[in-house]
């Protein structure tokens, strides 16, 4: 394991010379804020030595040069909404905050693209597009608080990925600062290109380990005018999950297919002070369908109802705002049960999602923690919220380890992966090393070493230096 230098007075002075005194923070109470993110996993938290807020790309570049000169690690941070300890400074050092770089630079209606700085909130991008009758299709659940830079770094997924793909599919080009401080522009606002290596996609999703994304040009698409959300209620978990691959195969091209188990239906309804159908015994599938043609919507709704009935749905109703409120409050709602929790973000082929949910829910019943399950089921992405409740620390760690060993082995056996949208971060680092094919891991490390010879940018994330 590499050792880094501490942040000395000389480093602080160098940083102040770049961004100005006001934007270099060393007060203990400020540093304390940036030791964690939204992952409820205190054992991973680390307090940074300094927090710095650059105003522009040039300043980000200068900060990286200082970090290289003094051999001090840099952890880039967006809104800190990571649940994978992606924003935690694993080796202390410098936390680099992107929040001042928050300008929408251009929204081009004819060209259907938007160029933004990395610190723009995702919801502001969504709203700006919407005002012009266009859609920015990236839509992570945290869109009202997260920043686009974080979405790009983790290849965030969210509610619309079934139809539109994940964040990496919404991008024409990026500007990034490499670990050495060099500024690069990668990709282009083109529908096709065979001019050199696909480096934009390499940086996107690398969780800030290969470069700090400072700007991006995002694709906008026409906003479908017709939309209907359906709640299909099942009193049987097996039936509720079996619906998903059937929906996809029926050619309905849904925008989203969300699944909530009864634990979540109850806790999120209570938290939201709402009572929805089959509160006591229901599992929910929430399906959104959008079209450009009214007849097509009617057609698809008929087909959808038929598939739901065939699969044994108890109730098929329009999903109004109350349903979405309950869905949004899922994670929040579990905090009353347990302050310590961990979320899994497993992803499997969509054809395997029903088996996977059923098998893992059954397996989870062998342990003392509580497991709540929701899924972006239409894209095979499964969230288990595992609640420590009143378990001892020792039992919690031991049983979690056992459960994960079984779950991960099973999921990789299905052709799945550790993370569908939250990323590896610091939290899944050791599992990444354990479950990834050695040749693939080795290629990642070869590239990391070439691009970041001092392993100075976001160390301790995704892959381990060795």
């Amino acid at each position: 394991m590499k050792e880094y230098n501490p942040v000395t007075a000389e480093v602080i002075d160098a940083l102040k010379a770049v961004v100005g005194d006001k934007y270099v923070k060393t007060d203990a109470d400020v540093l304390d804020v940036y030791k964690s993110d939204e992952s409820l996993a205190p054992s991973f938290w680390k307090t940074p030595e300094v927090v710095v807020l650059p105003a522009n790309t040039q300043e980000v570049s200068e900060i990286m040069k200082i970090a290289n000169r003094f051999d001090v690690p840099v952890t880039p941070r967006s809104a800190g909404t990571s649940v994978s300890c992606g924003a935690v400074p694993a080796y202390k050092g410098i936390v680099l905050l992107m929040e001042r770089m928050n300008h929408i630079i251009e929204l081009n209606e004819d060209g259907m693209y938007m160029t933004v700085e990395a610190g723009v909130r995702t919801i502001d991008i969504q709203n700006a597009a919407h005002e012009k009758g266009l859609l920015y299709a990236g839509d992570p659940c945290s869109s009202d608080s997260c920043l686009i830079g974080g979405n790009l770094a983790t290849n965030a997924g969210g509610n619309k990925a079934v139809r539109y793909g994940t964040t990496r599919h919404q991008v024409y080009s990026i500007e990034a600062v490499l670990p050495t401080g060099k500024i690069v522009n990668l990709g282009a606002t083109l529908k096709k290109c065979s001019t050199g290596f696909c480096l934009d996609q390499l940086i996107i999703g690398s969780e800030g380990t290969l470069g700090i994304i400072t700007k991006a040009t995002l694709k906008l698409v026409p906003l479908p005018p017709y939309k209907l959300d359906v709640l299909a209620v099942f009193t049987d978990l097996a039936k509720a999950t079996a619906l998903v691959p059937k929906l996809i195969k029926a050619g309905l091209n849904p925008t989203s297919v969300e699944f909530m188990d009864n634990n979540f239906v109850r806790s999120a309804s209570d938290y939201s002070d709402l009572k929805l159908p089959h509160y006591e015994d229901g599992c929910y599938d929430i399906i959104s369908i959008e079209t450009f043609n009214e007849d097509e919507l009617d057609d698809k709704m008929e087909k959808l109802a038929a598939v739901c009935e065939e699969c044994g749905a108890t109730d098929i109703v329009e999903a109004d705002d109350r349903v979405w409120k309950v869905r949004r409050n899922c994670l929040e709602s579990t905090r009353v049960f347990s302050k310590v929790a961990t979320s899994e973000d497993l992803v499997v082929p969509v054809t395997k999602i029903a088996d996977c949910i059923q098998t893992l829910v059954k397996e989870s019943q062998n342990y003392d923690f509580r497991v709540f399950c929701l899924a972006h089921a239409g894209d095979g992405n499964l969230h288990f919220q595992i609640l420590k409740c009143d378990m001892s620390d020792e039992d919690w760690e031991k049983q979690l380890k056992e459960f994960r060993a079984k779950a991960y082995k099973y999921v990789y056996g299905l052709g799945g992966r550790l993370s569908g949208e939250h990323g590896i971060g610091l939290k899944r680092l050791k599992y990444m090393e354990e479950y990834t094919d050695p040749a693939e891991l080795d290629l990642m490390k070869t590239i990391k070493r070439a691009v970041d010879p001092k392993w100075i940018l976001n160390p301790g994330k995704v892959i381990e230096e060795n």
Copy 2:
């Protein structure tokens, strides 16, 4: 410039030990076949020292290990349909033919994917999908002769890229042999993934410089049952090209939008022995629209006709097989005018395609060569076929250089790039070095050096060692 070792008897013996005597070719007449590809640019051609035909991934790996041991370059080759000298062995050495690895391994209807070896013909993949009511959406114009490995290496585009994207968008995962001989599996059959770096997309489109793709799992999509192709004829180039961005903005989501100038209309009609409307003075836009709903097709056809009329179309007729035959014969048809020719593959933002075609056609009239223009206009990809005809070699080189300098500068000014789908190959290497942002070029070379320390795999393509 690096110097490589010659292929000695020892190298030949080592190769024979891997693939068997029968699959190592050193006869002059065989070697002669593999000096060129479909680029009509003899000045770039080089005769290999040996041609080797591996049967499987393990053999490809062993060949790369031999190449490293003896410091001999390897040029992987699919069907040799490159028009960018992508298959030419720039430094001689070993040509590695993928054609024996030609098996469809699995077609999974429920999972909607197909796993194939790299030597399968693209048309066989299209047909296999079609038989199951599914679509493999990659569709380069050479699909009846090219192999999927070549499509993946160059990120081939073709006729359906407007709606479905290019080859890289049709891929779940690849198996590849790295320059060192290591075998890697990259990507997964998943709708979303945030588990490590996006290495599959890095290898795809790297034109066989970062790895030899040996297998791929390809996405299949539902086959739209309703389809109509329309030929819109214009007697004015400006009007014909102005249609394109308007079509895209109208939300018609066409599968393809192809443009042919009158030079191509005439030559390809003559070649095909067909007389189509406005043979004498027409430019053609051929538009394909596909839907899952009959009403939707009717709606879109009405809108399409309205947009074409508004743009001043002289004729709007159904495009039958004759039209597609003429389109397919375009390139072939120019060979009667000139044995030496070069094709440009420029790509610009779709909003700029009309200006770009008009400006460059006008510019081309200042030179002695003949220029024929066709375009995958819906994705901004412009093919100029430049015919030497009876120019002297000296004039040809001089004027071509002048024209390219103006055209490339103009295209990069519009945010465009050198190649939309043909790749850089050996033919555009020096222009790649000249027009690419130095920081981007440097990052490509850093990665190449890390992955291929001996610069042994496909040297002389895409980027130059320096």
